[in-house]
């Protein structure tokens, strides 16, 4: 297989919300263009009209709105069939946790339409869900903070008695707040249950250094790439606004242990806390590339590019070398566009 095979691919990408809680789409696109060249055609798949990536025409050739995950797989498939008629997609890389279930479910139909994916299974997706993480840790020998699943507000008191403050109060899919008092915990519980439903999760708070690991599993128990990153600047939403690649065999071993335990297929991220005694706790496992994924390309292991090649049947060997001390610093930028663009995507669902 030659590099030319990939030079003119048409790739659908979700997660264009490059805001203060960014989706990974723009970083994935940037890595793909760095690895495969500017001959590729990027089709943005958006949910809302204000996702900045829709308007970043130097990165995204055209964007189509797609139905929310709650609309179900039939609506998604119908929309993607239409998009495919226009664009002849070669591949889709979904980048949101909440849409993965549907994309996995329709992956066989997409394949029949000539659209490839490289995704984990539903079983793999489920075992790392926040509500299952504690059991997963016990089963496979990972340090995972103790947690309690909360379906009613009165269960908070028992969680506080069991785990004590401070507590991490987490939404079923996204968002988390540190609670130091019962008032804060109650407020977070109501906010998160209203947004994401039940259960809300109360998790033991681990103090330490926050580290994320971006990795690419081959689906056979191994990793093709592992890049650990220490968060250097963290936003009030807990997101890394700056970070640096680091080198620690224990972190590589942790990712390899995860891949071996799950046979993970595709990109994923381990959110890790290292405590003062050098213990590594897995706080979350995200079933897709993280928003800082371009750093993997900058450090010498272009994970999105490699995922594309694996989707086309290549079986690359593990990449072991990367640049340690490669730093990213995110920034904000006022992108100015004509109102006509906004009208076009809002009214027609295409831009």
């Amino acid at each position: 297989m030659t590099a030319d095979r990939y030079a003119n691919l048409c790739i659908g990408i979700t997660g264009l919300n490059a805001n203060d809680n960014p989706g990974p789409g723009i970083a994935v696109i940037r890595a793909l263009r760095a690895g495969l060249g500017d001959g590729i055609r990027i089709i943005g798949l958006s949910y809302e009209s204000m996702e900045p990536g829709i308007y970043m025409h130097e990165l995204v050739n055209k964007t189509y709105q797609i139905p929310y995950p709650t609309a179900g797989t039939a609506a998604l498939l119908e929309r993607l069939a239409y998009i495919n008629e226009q664009e002849k997609l070669d591949l889709i890389i979904p980048n949101f946790d909440s849409e993965l279930y549907n994309f996995i479910r329709i992956s066989a139909q997409l394949q029949q339409m000539g659209i490839r994916t490289f995704l984990p299974s539903h079983e793999q997706l489920a075992l790392r869900e926040k509500v299952n993480l504690s059991d997963f840790g016990k089963q496979h020998g990972f340090n995972v903070p103790a947690d309690r699943k909360l379906f009613r507000i009165d269960e908070l008191k028992k969680a506080k008695d069991d785990l004590s403050f401070p507590l991490m109060i987490k939404g079923k899919f996204y968002e988390a707040y540190v609670a130091y008092t019962m008032d804060q915990a109650i407020k977070a519980f109501h906010q998160l249950s209203a947004t994401w439903g039940y259960p809300v999760i109360a998790q033991q708070h681990i103090k330490g250094t926050e580290i994320n690991i971006a990795a690419l599993g081959d689906g056979n128990g191994g990793n093709i790439s592992i890049i650990p990153m220490r968060k250097l600047y963290i936003t009030d939403k807990g997101k890394a606004w700056a970070g640096v690649t680091i080198e620690d065999p224990k972190l590589i071993a942790l990712a390899n242990q995860f891949a071996k335990a799950t046979n993970w297929r595709g990109g994923y991220e381990l959110e890790v806390m290292r405590d003062a005694d050098d213990n590594l706790f897995i706080l979350e496992i995200n079933p897709r590339f993280p928003a800082w994924i371009y750093l993997t390309a900058a450090a010498g292991q272009n994970q999105p590019e490699t995922l594309v090649k694996m989707a086309f049947g290549e079986t690359p060997g593990p990449m072991n070398e990367y640049q340690v001390g490669k730093l990213f610093i995110r920034y904000s930028w006022d992108h100015v566009v004509d109102i006509a663009d906004f009208q076009q995507i809002s009214a027609r669902g295409e831009l």
């Binding site: 250094t209 580290i211 990153m229 220490r230 250097l232 970070g243 640096v244 680091i246 080198e247 620690d248 290292r274 340690v324 001390g325």
Partner: protein, 81 residues
């Protein structure tokens, strides 16, 4: 006591621990001492070099050295044999 082998230092006093991502700024003498420790120079050799170069008594240097080692330990820059 030795500085961890993988600690990166630069001439301008920047110290980076690639295992943790921690970074520190050191002054000129800190840079010199870390450089000497990375070279494998013994404590006695480094101390003698400081005594030769700076106006400091051996007693004061020993006290400062103990403080220095504590700082290196806290910064997780030392390797224990």
């Amino acid at each position: 006591m030795k500085i961890k082998k993988n600690i990166a230092t630069s001439e301008n006093g920047f110290i980076f621990n690639p295992a943790t991502g921690d970074s520190f700024s050191g002054n000129a003498i800190a840079t010199d001492i870390i450089g000497a420790m990375k070279n494998g120079d013994s404590e006695a050799v480094i101390k003698q070099s400081i005594l030769d170069k700076y106006e400091v008594t051996p007693e004061q240097l020993n006290r400062d050295w103990d403080d220095w080692i504590i700082q290196l330990k806290e910064a997780n820059l030392l390797e224990f044999e």
